[in-house]
Symmetry: none
């Protein structure tokens, strides 16, 4: 899951970036509203963590602007403003969740998982398909209780497929989930990762639908 972190407090932002990266989220960090608005034009994020106290513009206005454009991006507000009025305003203007500072990182992570779960329609922390178990919490994949050793990219590809089990993910969609910006991937990386994954997974686990994409059967 790609997350756009909009936070001008460098210290907090760094701590969060590290914590979130450890959970294998892809973090892009910006410090101003302007950058945030610009960023979502170019990259498709699955979630935004938005601080309200930004130097150039009120975070609430960023929220307004995004919703006005009917961009359906889950937004979690993270702010020092903890008055009930502020919370209500934030939530009613289209935020999906509201956490006031000081907050505990594990709670933020849990609330992000709620967002993530909702995006992937039907995935909890533990997803089991055939004899493969995918623990999005611990970032561990097991086949018949044997843990799989996956590289980061392999993990991300598999995760995207598992979270969308039953649906087809195009190569472009998978690429988008692998790279921060639409990097100039003029190559067949995804295919290579799929190839490596298949060596580690049961036969026919990852299916290809020619011309359309890859998928994993639901259950």
């Amino acid at each position: 899951m790609k997350i756009l972190l909009v936070e001008d407090d460098q210290l907090l932002a760094n701590a969060l970036s590290i914590a979130l990266t450890r959970e294998s989220y892809l973090i892009t960090h910006v410090t101003t509203a302007k950058e945030a608005i610009n960023q979502i034009k170019y990259t498709e994020y699955q979630s935004m963590i938005l601080d309200l106290g930004l130097p150039d513009m009120d975070g609430i206005d960023v929220l307004k602007r995004i919703r006005k454009q009917k961009i359906d991006l889950p937004i979690l507000i993270l702010t020092a403003r903890d008055s009930i009025e502020d919370k209500i305003k934030g939530l009613d203007l289209g935020a999906d969740d509201y956490l006031s500072k000081p907050f505990e990182v594990p709670e933020l992570l849990a609330r992000l998982r709620v967002i993530e779960r909702r995006l992937g329609t039907a995935n909890s922390a533990l997803i089991t398909i055939k004899n493969v178990t995918f623990d999005t919490r611990a970032n561990v994949v097991t086949v018949d209780t044997h843990p799989l050793v996956l590289s980061k990219k392999e993990y991300l590809v598999l995760k995207a497929l598992v979270e969308n089990a039953g649906r087809i993910q195009s190569r472009e969609q998978l690429e988008a989930k692998l790279y921060e910006w639409q990097d100039d991937i003029a190559s067949n990386t995804v295919e290579v990762h799929i190839h490596h994954l298949r060596k580690k997974l049961p036969a026919n686990f990852i299916k290809n639908i020619r011309g359309i994409g890859y998928s994993i059967d639901k259950a």
Copy 2:
């Protein structure tokens, strides 16, 4: 929106019922886990407000049970347990939000509105015609629950027809949807694709209107 309020504290439950009814939610109030589980069997609620400290069973187990049955009911936990561990547990077990007591009613209302808003925008595009189901989101076509294997162009032709069921699509219109730019298709590709599609679909599913084009009956 119909809400099932599961709360054994009569005083709080009454206050909430009044507040929620005033917001024109339809409230059913039960005081035990047993009643709650029973209730959702008979009535379709759009949301559940769940207290964890119930007399007969831990609310967490109610949550577990509901999620185990893959019931996709938004659940907001409302409880005195405000430790981070409890929050994380609740959220990871499938709760959509977590509010610890004491809380302010307006915040609860705002969080309910978030749930309500989300319910309005969570449907995948499913088109069903006779015994053929077309999921434009998942790129999957099923005939009597059997998935169809379609090539990309076949899929696109069928999609164009299904999305315009009841109307006639000329060969030119179909071609336009198969090719980015009016490539010099001086051939009968569309006819060939239709031919292949017909082999995979029920008889007479795709009709031809001589001299005009192809169509699929609506419903």
